[in-house]
Amino acid sequence: MSLGIVIVSHVPEIAAGVTTLIKQVAADVSITFAGGTDDNQVGTSMAKISTAFDDNAADELLAFYDLGSAKMNLEMAIEMSDKSVHLYDTALVESAYTAASLLQAGVDLTAVEAQLAPLKIK
């Protein structure tokens, strides 16, 4: 499978929990996550995000985040990554769930993005 998902949240539990939720409906999709700062405080870590990119088995990634400052760290990580990463300004939990369901069903990126469009809220 060449499309994977990366979940980025300010809180380690949210990132891990969203991953748990969506793995249930997407057993064959590679899903990695980055939650919290390097010392697991509330915040985000560019290094953790880069690791989540690297650890993902897919080479093209869909990335979802919670708050604006996570987006900034995501963008820095994207600039430093060799992978093609698509970043969505959509509802974190709901859009990650939508993407996971669709990728598991073998839906292509264009069709996934069409389903994500109405979830854009930031």
Partner: protein, 194 residues
């Protein structure tokens, strides 16, 4: 006519069917859901069985309510509040005085519709409940009616529940809640036949 006794028997048979088809129901839930419908229902029906164990002398309303509470508290998935509401509405209708099967099932279906906001054609358990209720009202419920209703969900596009995220890709799969509802009504037929 439903009585406390035949309702207990009904749920007992339903529980057996769920237990026997647990893996199949979860498999049906895998391509268009999260793969837990069989486990959810089995957990719920085990709780129903336990809760009904000491209800031999209870009245019909109490039996319905006991079933509802067990399902609501133990199923965990969407089917919990849906089946739970169905039995809760039957408890209310029976408390209001009726033991009439069509009346009770109509109350149950109305409850499911209210709880989930789905309607016939949305590829949910409602697509089994609706034709079954019509047949019960007409006095001609058969296994074929049930099977056809279950099968009718296959070509449908899901509009509610987890399968709805897949849109058109849900076509070609039976709805797991429709299948478990099929077992419910097969169990009812068996009870009615006696």
């Amino acid at each position: 006519m439903l009585t406390a006794q035949n309702t207990i028997t009904w749920l007992d048979k339903f529980g057996d069917a769920i237990e026997k088809n647990k893996a199949y129901l979860s498999d049906l839930d895998t391509p268009i859901g999260d793969g837990d419908h069989g486990n959810n229902m089995a957990r719920g029906l085990t709780a129903v069985k336990a809760a009904l164990a000491d209800k031999d002398d209870a009245d019909l309303t109490t039996v319905f309510k006991t079933i509802a509470m067990a399902l609501i508290s133990k199923v965990g998935g969407a089917s919990g509040p849906l089946y739970g509401t169905a039995f809760l509405e039957m408890a209310k209708a029976s408390k209001a005085g009726t033991t009439d099967l069509p009346t009770l099932l109509a109350a149950a279906l109305a409850g499911i519709e209210k709880r989930g906001g789905a309607e016939a054609g949305d590829k949910t358990m409602i697509d089994v409940w609706t034709p079954v209720l019509a047949a019960v009202q007409a006095g001609n419920l058969t296994q074929a009616v049930i099977d056809d209703a279950v099968e009718s969900t296959k070509p449908m596009i899901a509009k509610k529940g987890r399968a709805s995220y897949l849109g058109e890709r849900s076509v070609g799969h039976l709805d797991p809640g429709a299948v478990s509802s099929g077992y419910l009504f097969t169990a009812l037929l068996e009870v009615e036949a006696n």
